[in-house]
């Protein structure tokens, strides 16, 4: 290449690089970090005809030092109100002067009153906002969301992170179904099936402790014990208790690992850890009715056995049989509850559509009302093939 031409190209390249530095693309609408509030959790309530949003924001200045200590209180709560969620989000700037950055949002808690207005009314804004994380856990509070966000743990981690981990662990350990924002939006958009959200509630405080010296602060002030059912239109319709919630996990094929406790009074108590779970829900389409068959096969590890007044002989088979019955009962409880609520919470229509699309087209508009006529049969197999660190000579 000739030196003059090479020089001209270098000049052009440098000119272009410098001109790019002056590009106003990022500068015009940028907001410095100091002018942003990093939102960790959002609570949505509805009162007096308006939505109240509670934001739990990360606030390291609250620690009083330059470092974030392990026991420091790093969060503060801000509320704003508006006729819609969008308006409340916009009004949040007026409350504290910083722009809300929801890209790191971990949890969205919906209060009961807001849920009664419909899930899409509460969550639609967050689905459309490109900066909001769609992996935020969505929780339901039977009271208000703001009191959940105001609860504090004493481990030094942010309450939002704690709420997120509680919800994730509850789902991963086969206790309560959990749902991320995009899953809730997907269910609401599909318009033909309901969804279950974990119910978060404050742990009742024991007011009987005699002195502050004896009082031990709880690790967590909130817990999950139930699931809230929402109709296909996104309206709250009922509660699933703990047994029904576990049954819902089996039916949704969301049970991956869990523990079962088998307790036979005056005989034994045993704990099983199910480490491998396979679930298949199949529709049985007959001319006059539709039923479903649930097949569950599990592999389990016997982690604890306490014998009382019982022989160890054939104990493994007995434990396995009782575990199978327990799982079947949980599934039946969930099925009965969903039928009573007349809501397809287990994607039954999707199963029918996969098997026979024409039949699905026939029944989709009336299916929820006829759900109580659908029967569920279960076949459960639990195989105990691991015994943990201690092996009793079962035969």
């Amino acid at each position: 290449m000739k030196p003059i031409r090479r020089k001209r190209r270098m000049v052009l390249l440098w000119a272009l690089t410098v001109s790019l530095l002056f590009s106003c693309t990022g500068c015009l609408s940028s907001t410095p970090l100091s002018r942003q509030s990093i939102v960790q959790a959002i609570g949505i309530d509805y009162e007096n005809g308006a939505y109240t949003l509670s934001f739990q924001i990360f606030s390291p200045s609250e620690s009083g030092g330059s470092n974030i200590g392990a026991s420091a209180d790093n969060a503060k709560q801000i509320t704003s109100t508006g006729k819609t969620v969008s308006e409340a989000m916009a009004n949040s700037v007026l409350v504290q002067g910083k722009r809300m950055f929801t890209g790191q949002n971990r949890v969205i808690v919906i209060g009961k009153a807001a849920a009664e207005q419909g899930l899409l009314s509460a969550l639609g804004y967050f689905g459309g906002d490109p900066s909001t994380s769609r992996n935020a856990q969505v929780l339901f509070s039977q009271t208000t969301a703001s009191e959940i966000l105001g609860a504090k743990g004493n481990q030094g981690i942010l309450p939002a992170e704690m709420l997120e981990q509680i919800a994730e662990n509850a789902g991963q350990h086969g206790k309560i179904p959990n749902a991320k924002l995009f899953e809730v939006l997907k269910a609401a958009d599909e318009d033909d099936k309901g969804i279950l959200l974990p119910v978060i509630a404050q742990i009742p405080q024991d007011s009987q402790s005699e002195s502050s010296a004896e009082q031990i602060d709880p690790v967590s002030a909130v817990h999950l014990t139930q699931a809230a059912a929402f109709t296909k239109d996104g309206f709250f319709c009922g509660i699933f208790d703990e047994e029904e919630s576990r049954g819902a996990l089996w039916l949704l094929n969301d049970m991956h690992h869990t523990k079962l406790t088998i307790s036979v009074p005056k005989q034994y108590t045993a704990a099983l850890e199910l480490y491998e779970v396979n679930t298949t829900l199949s529709p049985i389409l007959e001319e006059d009715n539709i039923s479903f068959h649930l097949t569950i096969s599990c592999r389990a590890s016997l982690t604890e056995t306490v014998l009382m007044d019982s022989s160890a002989a054939h104990l493994t088979e007995d434990i396995a049989a009782r575990a199978q019955a327990l799982i079947a009962d949980e599934c039946d409880a969930a099925w009965t509850r969903a039928s009573a609520l007349s809501t397809d919470l287990f994607r039954l229509k999707d199963h029918i559509m996969q098997k026979d699309t024409a039949r699905y087209e026939q029944i989709k508009s009336m299916f929820d009302e006829t759900l109580s006529d659908c029967l569920l049969t279960t076949s459960v197999t639990v195989t105990i093939d691991r015994y943990g660190k201690e092996y009793l000579p079962f035969s």
């Binding site: 001109s19 590009s23 490109p130 992996n135 997907k186 958009d189 199963h351």
Partner: protein, 381 residues
């Protein structure tokens, strides 16, 4: 072939990677804003069928690249029908590339303002993009083909990571089966929609003389179509199995998938992937601007005059892009799923040219037995 000529040519794999990156932008940029999208098994089967249909489009390329490896489609038009056909073909391609470039730049701007910079002006987004585009076109095909070869692997790695991270969230129950009525119509519509977006088919007809071995153009074309088909099937399956029909209703379904997958502490990977998508937009626009400039050479031979004409038209391109960026309804109206244009430009027209050239050769052989078809061969780059 002397050493100087070789340095201005690219290899078949480079062409494949360049075309793939260019095609990827239209794949990643699909949006219900600009046209109806199919979903479920209809979409997957439509993608598969479009692959087989597009393979048929390689037939004229195979004929021309074997028989006339040194001439582009426009050069063949000149030999077949004289100067008027040559200039007519060049004008047609110019018009196509003009629309494609404006459409690509406006789509890029629309994506950036929808997802990355919601409050930014589209002009300020397009200015630096366009300036870099014009500069890179000056450096020639070989330069940006080499760059494409690097980004190709980064892009594949990025996509593979998205798909792997999405696996825990997949559920085949989310993929809706074929509808009971109108299934074939939906599949065919999806297939035609894919073909209508594949402008790279006729880019191939203009680029194959730039290959070191033009006869391998069909190989590049076939692997390009196959790789695109596999990519689309895999990513569409992942999107549908994670997000179901809800995913195809998002403004950018591929972006929606990237925004919901995470791997442990690695979250919001969509921002990383977006940077690679911007690169895809760049290569697509670059390829079209390069070919636009090549077509201009048909009308203006002198280098300085061609440069003046090119830069003048570049200004028009820029303002056309800005206009479309601010009027998505116009883009929607221009966006057609009929596949007529690629069929005419990439199949019918080249086939007709080949037939005309063969007839002309026969006539020449009849009139003058000493002349061979080699007289029609010649470098035309």
């Amino acid at each position: 072939m002397n050493a100087n000529a070789r340095t201005h040519r690219i290899s078949a794999p480079q062409l494949l990677m360049l075309l793939f990156l260019s095609r990827m932008f239209s794949v990643l940029n699909i949006s219900p804003v600009f046209g109806t999208l199919q979903s479920g098994m209809t979409l997957l089967l439509g993608t598969l069928i479009s692959f087989f249909l597009q393979c048929a489009f390689l037939f004229p390329l195979w004929l021309l690249s074997r028989r006339y490896p040194g001439k582009t489609l426009i050069g063949c038009a000149g030999d077949a029908g004289g100067e008027w056909l040559k200039k007519g073909a060049a004008l047609l391609f110019l018009l196509m590339f003009f629309i494609q470039i404006c459409g690509s730049l406006s789509a890029f701007s629309f994506f950036m303002t929808a997802i990355v910079f919601p409050k930014a002006s589209s002009i300020l987004l397009l200015i630096p993009f366009f300036l870099v585009l014009i500069l890179c076109v000056r450096w020639g095909l070989e330069s940006f083909s080499r760059a494409a070869a690097i980004f190709f692997w980064l892009f594949l790695l990025s996509t593979a990571s998205i798909c792997l991270c999405a696996i825990p969230n997949t559920d085949l129950l989310n993929i809706t089966p074929l509808p009971t009525q109108g299934a074939f119509g939906g599949i065919f519509s999806a297939a035609l929609g894919e073909i209508s977006k594949n402008g790279e088919l006729y880019c191939l007809l203009l680029l194959y003389p730039s290959l070191r071995t033009p006869q391998k153009a069909v190989h590049s074309g076939f692997w390009f179509l196959l790789l695109t088909c596999v990519f689309m099937l895999v990513t569409q399956t992942v999107i549908l199995s994670v997000l179901s029909d809800f995913g195809m209703e998002q403004t950018y379904p591929y972006y929606a998938l990237a925004s919901v997958v995470d791997l442990s502490v690695l979250q919001r990977l969509d921002s990383f992937h977006m940077s690679l998508w911007i690169v895809c937009a760049f290569f697509r626009s670059l390829l079209y601007v390069f070919l636009f400039k090549k077509c201009l050479g048909t009308f203006v031979i002198k280098k300085k005059a061609r440069a003046v004409l090119f830069y003048s038209l570049a200004v028009l391109l820029f303002f056309g892009s800005v206009f479309l960026a601010d009027h998505p309804q116009v883009v929607r109206a221009l966006n057609t799923s009929t596949a007529i244009v690629p069929t005419l430009l990439a199949f019918v027209f080249p086939l007709v040219l080949f037939i005309l050239l063969k007839r002309k050769e026969k006539r020449n052989e009849t009139n003058s037995p000493q002349k061979t078809h080699g007289a029609l061969m010649g470098a035309d780059r």
